[in-house]
C-alpha cells in the first residue's frame, strides 16, 4: 500500500530512517553475520586463531546426543507450555463470558500474572516447590509424595512448564475473552432455540468461530516458550538435572557463555535463526489467511 500524497526530497527521509537502520545494522545484522561466520570456524582454546571447518560444527552438532536431546526437550516443553496455558485460559474465558456482570473485575485480577517477569515467576514457583522450605513440596511430603525437582528430571520439567505457563494464562485469557465477546449473540440464540445445549453449542458453534484466535495463540505461545522462557529455566533449574530442562535457547547460552564453546554456540544460533524464520513465516501466513472454519 502506498500513499497518494508524498513529500519531495530524499535526504530528509534517509535521515529519518537512519537511526533505526544504524541500530539494526550494528546490533542485529552485524552480530547475525558474525554468528554465521563464526559457525564455520573452531577457535583455539586461547582465542588467538581459529581454523576453518566449513559445516563441521553443524555436522558435529547433529551428531551430538545432547544437542538432539535439547531439540526433543524443546519440543516437549513448548507443547506442554502451550497446552497448559491455553486450556485453562479458554475454560476461564468461556465461564467469564457467561457472566452478565462482574467479568471486568475477574479480568482485572486475572491479568496480573502477565505483568510478572518470567524470571520472577520462576522465583515464585521455585519458592513454593523448594525442597527445603517450599509449602507445596512440604504438603506433598505429608501426603507421602517426596517432591525433589533437583534430582528428578520429570518433576523439574513439570515445574518449569507450570511456571512458564502461569503468566501466559492471563495473555491467552484476554484474547479468548475478546474473541468470545465478539461471537454474535444471534447465532448462539438460534442454536439454543433449536435445542442445542451449552456444551453442544460450544463444540459445534463457538469453538469453530474461535479458530482464528486459537491458531494465532498457538503460534504466539510456541514462539514464547522457545525464546522468552529463558528466565524461568535459569532461575529454577539452570537446565538440569542432567540437562533434562535444557531447551535450545538455554543451550546457546550455556555453551557460549558458560562452556566458552564459541563455534558450537554460533552454529546453534544459526540453527535457531532458521527456526525463528520458519515460525515467523508461519505466523504471517496465519495472519494473512485468517484461518476459518
Amino acid at each position: 500500500m502506498e500513499k497518494r500524497v508524498t513529500f519531495r526530497g530524499w535526504l530528509l527521509p534517509l535521515l529519518l530512517i537512519a537511526p533505526q537502520v544504524v541500530i539494526s545494522l550494528v546490533f542485529f545484522f552485524y552480530p547475525a553475520g558474525q554468528a554465521i561466520w563464526q559457525s564455520l570456524f573452531i577457535p583455539d582454546p586461547f582465542g588467538l586463531s581459529s581454523q576453518y571447518v566449513g559445516i563441521g560444527n553443524f555436522e558435529y552438532l547433529f551428531g551430538d546426543r545432547f544437542y538432539l536431546a535439547a531439540f526433543g526437550t524443546t519440543a516437549v516443553f513448548s507443547i506442554l507450555v502451550t497446552l497448559c496455558s491455553m486450556i485453562p485460559a479458554l475454560f476461564l474465558a468461556v465461564v467469564a463470558d457467561r457472566l452478565i456482570k462482574g467479568s471486568g473485575v475477574y479480568r482485572t485480577l486475572l491479568i496480573w500474572p502477565y505483568a510478572v517477569a518470567p524470571a520472577v515467576a520462576g522465583v515464585l514457583w521455585l519458592f513454593m516447590f523448594n525442597t527445603r522450605v517450599g509449602v507445596i513440596s512440604w504438603y506433598l511430603g505429608t501426603l507421602g509424595y517426596d517432591w525433589n525437582h533437583v534430582l528428578n528430571g520429570g518433576e523439574a520439567m513439570g515445574l518449569v512448564v507450570v511456571a512458564s505457563a502461569w503468566g501466559r494464562i492471563s495473555y491467552n485469557f484476554l484474547f479468548f475473552f475478546a474473541a468470545l465477546q465478539a461471537v454474535p449473540r444471534s447465532v448462539i440464540e438460534a442454536a439454543a432455540i433449536d435445542g442445542a445445549r451449552f456444551w453442544r453449542r460450544f463444540w459445534t458453534i463457538v469453538l469453530p468461530l474461535l479458530s482464528p484466535t486459537t491458531f494465532f495463540l498457538l503460534v504466539v505461545n510456541i514462539v514464547y516458550s522457545f525464546f522468552e522462557t529463558f528466565g524461568v529455566i535459569h532461575t529454577i533449574t539452570a537446565g538440569g538435572p542432567q540437562q533434562s530442562t535444557t531447551i535450545l535457547v538455554y543451550k546457546v547460552f550455556s555453551d557460549g557463555f558458560v562452556g566458552q564453546d564459541l563455534g558450537s554456540s554460533s552454529a546453534q544460533s544459526v540453527v535457531l535463526l532458521f527456526v525463528v524464520g520458519a515460525l515467523t513465516i508461519i505466523q504471517f501466513k496465519f495472519i494473512e489467511k485468517r484461518v476459518h472454519y
Binding site: V5, Q20, F27, F28, A117, I169, F175, L272
Partner: protein, 285 residues
C-alpha cells in the same frame, strides 16, 4: 415464554452462581503464588525455614522491605529499581521515537532504497536477542558499553513491530491532511509535529505500556552485560541474591524483592488496562 428462551442462553440462578464460584477459584489459584510471596515478605526467616510457613501475613513488613530497599544482598534493591526504571523507559521511549521517524519516512516519502530499508527492518523481526547473544555481547563489549545504561538499552531498541504498527496507522491518516499541508507550504517536519504526532497519541500510549513491560521484564541481556552489581536490574538481580553454596537463602528479603519487582509493571498493566489491551492487540495482530 420470552424469559424462558432468554434463560436458555444466559444462565441464571444456580448456573450463574456456579460460574462465579469457578471464576473465584480460578482467580485464587492464579493468585496463590503472588499471595505466598507477599506472606513470605512479611514474616521472619525462622518462620520460613521451618516448614510449613504461615499462609497469613506476619508483622515484619516494614523490617523486610526496609532491609531489601536499602541494603539488599549484593546491592540495595533501590538501586536495582532505578536501573530497571531507566532501562524500561529508555527502551520504550527509544523504540517509539525511532519507529515514529522511520515509519514517517517510509509512508510519506519516495526515496532511493526505500524498499530495501523496509525489508531490512522487517528482517529484524526474525532476530531476537536470544539467537545472537554471543556476537551481540562482543559488539557491546567492543564499544565499551558493558555495565552501562546505553549497553542495556540500545541493542534492544530496534523494533520492527513498532515501525509496522505506526506505518499501518499512518496509512489510515486521510491524504487530504498531507495535501493541505503541502498546499500551505508546510515543511514535512512541521506536518509531522503538528498533525502526525498528535494524531498518533493513543497508539503511542498503548505501545508505551507494552514496551515498558517488555523492557522491565528483560532477563538474559542484563544478566550478560551487567557484571557490576551496581548496574543490575531488579528482575535479573533477584537470582543473584541466592547464595551459591549450601547457605540458606534469605527468603523474606528475596520475596520482598520479588514483590517490589512486580509492582511497577502491575501498576502499568492494571492502571492502564484499556491502553494495555489495545497495545497487546495492535502489536500482535
Amino acid at each position: 415464554m420470552a424469559s424462558e428462551r432468554h434463560g436458555m442462553v444466559e444462565k441464571r440462578g444456580a448456573g450463574l452462581w456456579l460460574s462465579h464460584v469457578i471464576m473465584i477459584l480460578g482467580v485464587l489459584v492464579v493468585f496463590f503464588p503472588i499471595w505466598l510471596a507477599f506472606v513470605a515478605s512479611t514474616v521472619t526467616q525462622p518462620e520460613i525455614v521451618k516448614p510449613p510457613m504461615p499462609l497469613w501475613p506476619g508483622d515484619q513488613f516494614i523490617e523486610n522491605y526496609t532491609k531489601a530497599l536499602f541494603s539488599g544482598v549484593n546491592v540495595p534493591v533501590g538501586t536495582m529499581l532505578v536501573n530497571s526504571l531507566v532501562m524500561a523507559i529508555g527502551i520504550a521511549v527509544g523504540k517509539i521515537i525511532i519507529s515514529l521517524l522511520s515509519a514517517f519516512a517510509i509512508v510519506y516519502f519516495r526515496f532511493p532504497g526505500k524498499t530495501f530499508f523496509f525489508w531490512m527492518i522487517f528482517l529484524t523481526l526474525m532476530l531476537p536477542v536470544e539467537v545472537r547473544i554471543v556476537p551481540t555481547y562482543e559488539v557491546v563489549a567492543g564499544f565499551g558499553m558493558l555495565n552501562s545504561y546505553s549497553g542495556l538499552i540500545f541493542p534492544l531498541i530496534a523494533s520492527a513491530t513498532a515501525t509496522f504498527l505506526f506505518r499501518q496507522f499512518f496509512l489510515t491518516i486521510p491524504d487530504e491532511l498531507a495535501e493541505a499541508a503541502r498546499v500551505d507550504g508546510a515543511s514535512p517536519m512541521r506536518f509531522f509535529w503538528d498533525i502526525v504526532v498528535p494524531m498518533s497519541r493513543t497508539n503511542v500510549a498503548a505501545l508505551f505500556v507494552i514496551l515498558f513491560i517488555y523492557g522491565w521484564n528483560q532477563y538474559l541481556w542484563p544478566l550478560l552485560i551487567t557484571t557490576d552489581p551496581e548496574m543490575n536490574t531488579i528482575v535479573m538481580g533477584i537470582k543473584q541474591m541466592f547464595p551459591s553454596g549450601d547457605d540458606v537463602a534469605e527468603w523474606p528479603v528475596i520475596m520482598a524483592t520479588s514483590i517490589l519487582a512486580m509492582i511497577p509493571p502491575v501498576i502499568v498493566v492494571v492502571g492502564m488496562q484499556r491502553l494495555f489491551i489495545r497495545g497487546l492487540v495492535d502489536s500482535e495482530k
